[in-house]
């Protein structure tokens, strides 16, 4: 122990630490600066963007760019669609995943490991290999260009990961309370809704926030299944907007910021849960 302290105090080590921090800081700059620049040019007018150094701060911040994107560019509509489609999908995903995880970890049935295996295989299925059959399927059901097609897809494709994150928590959760409830003659539904669900709130919040971010950012399903502006979400809406306002960098920047800000706010408040969810979801694969 004393050896360690001595070593960190030598001048060589101090230079070493300085260099390490420099490298780490440069990586952080690389990760964050494009976003800072985005914010800067979202407040500029075209004459500044095309005439002056891109590094300069906006002379007269053009908050009007945001108003323009929000109203003229239909972004408010896309934003609202993203919100409600995300909320419904997340509730359905987490509820269905909790049912499955409860049944697999708490109830006794022969096929439970087979069913679990199927969900775990689901994690590996590439979305693109399913797109054409899915498009055809929704087309036949007449729900193409209908939010139902994307909500169902979001729920299905996020179930495996959500179950995987929930499983880790359910396995470590003590069963005594649930067992006592069974002794007292509680029904399974009451145990699930009044005991298990409340006890799993920490992991539920992790899965909720992870699912929210994935659904909010999803692009391929919406781009493939939805064609009318009424149902488009933000990601595809941005594509529309950029196509229309090709040279208006300020308004494009504002649109991108509008799509990013909710996620950044969520990250600012819930960063630990998000980091935890991302780590849990991948490591156990």
């Amino acid at each position: 122990m004393s050896n360690g302290i001595k070593e960190t105090n030598t001048p060589m080590n101090r230079i070493g630490f300085g260099l390490l921090y420099l490298v780490l800081g440069l990586v952080a700059l690389f990760q964050i600066y494009p976003l800072v620049w985005l914010f800067i040019f979202s407040l500029k007018q075209n004459s500044e963007i095309f005439g002056r150094s891109p590094f300069a701060l906006p002379e007269d911040p053009q908050w009007g760019n945001y108003a323009k994107a929000w109203t003229d560019g239909n972004i408010s509509q896309f934003f609202f669609n993203s919100v409600w489609i995300t909320v419904i999908s997340v509730i359905l995903t987490v509820l269905l995943a909790s049912f499955v995880t409860f049944a697999i970890t708490r109830m006794h049935w022969k096929l439970s490991s087979l069913v679990l295996g199927m969900f775990m295989v689901g994690i590996m299925i590439p979305i693109h290999s399913t797109l054409i059959p899915l498009f055809d399927f929704f087309n036949r059901l007449n729900v193409i260009d209908n939010p139902l097609s994307i909500i169902l897809s979001y729920v299905a494709f996020n179930l495996p990961l959500t179950i995987m994150i929930l499983l880790g928590f359910y396995y470590t959760l003590p069963r005594e309370v649930e067992e006592a409830a069974v002794m007292d003659g509680c029904s399974v539904h009451r145990i699930f809704f009044q005991i298990t669900l409340p006890m799993t709130t920490p992991v539920i919040s992790t899965t909720v926030i992870i699912n929210m971010i994935y659904n909010w950012n999803e692009f391929v399903f919406v781009n493939t299944f939805i064609s009318s502006d009424t149902w488009k979400t933000l990601t595809v809406g941005i594509q529309n907007f950029v196509g229309q306002y090709l040279t208006d960098w300020g308004a494009i920047g504002a649109t991108l910021m509008i799509s990013i800000i909710p996620v950044l706010i969520a990250y600012f408040i819930l960063s630990n849960r998000i980091v935890e969810g991302i780590a849990a979801g991948s490591v156990k694969g």
């Binding site: 040019f41 049944a103 109830m107 590439p126 179930l159 920047g253 490591v283």
Partner: protein, 292 residues
Amino acid sequence: MNKVMSNKVVIALYVLPALLLIGVLMFVPIILSGYYGLMDWDGIGAMKFIGLENYAELMGDGKFWDSAYHSFLLALFSTISLIAYLAISLILANKLKGSELLRKIYLIPMLLSSVAIAQLWLKVYDPNNGILNSLLTTLGVDNPPAWLADTDTVLFSIFIAIIWQYAGFYIIIYSAALKGIPESLVEAARIDGANPIQIAYKIKIPLIMGVIKVTVVLAIVGSLKYFDLIYVMTGGGPNGASEVMASYMYRQAFGTYNFGYGSAVGFALLVICLILTWLIRKLTASGDEIQY
């Protein structure tokens, strides 16, 4: 106890909705994708069975193999970049001040939509008004490349944006794994006189080898099916120079309404991903897992 918790009706009620969803929307489409690959089909009219013709055409389709080559380049590039992420994570694991904050900053791009990232990097690479070429001009570079408009630089330029997107993700995974190593092991090695680099090589990396293997699979398979950023940034262009397997499939199906052929490409993508996952797992399988 057993009676309540093995009620078949309740189990069916809890499991079937989710199972039905992944069955109908994931497993059935995967099988259908292989089946549609046997058809001549424009997505609207009647299907015509043509046997293995699409798959035979795929074998000789130079554009498909070009896109596969680009996908494999991305896979190679992503795998090599894992070394840098691991190095950064190992440095951060030495209880540096501010390491928690740095990790959180690194992760930010991963939380943004691919569309937003693609649009942002389109602006970064803009030959006249983007920050990259402005920086290069300031540094005295005379004729900086046009990046995304140049067939020689487009693929590499997109790879950098993908690195930007995923770096934090892998650093978070490695950091979580490194946190799981018992402090006593590292402390014991330190007392025995091991320096931080020896500790990293001889203790930490071997102990998280399982996680490293998982990330290799994630990076390779994730790269092979990568789509969003490329589709938005270049659409596979210019002149197919940044086409990857998924974007080729997408253009065949939803661009030129070649649903039959597109399905064959999609199915080939699936098969390639599955074979590689199996192969990597097999190649990296070690006899006994390390216990601590």
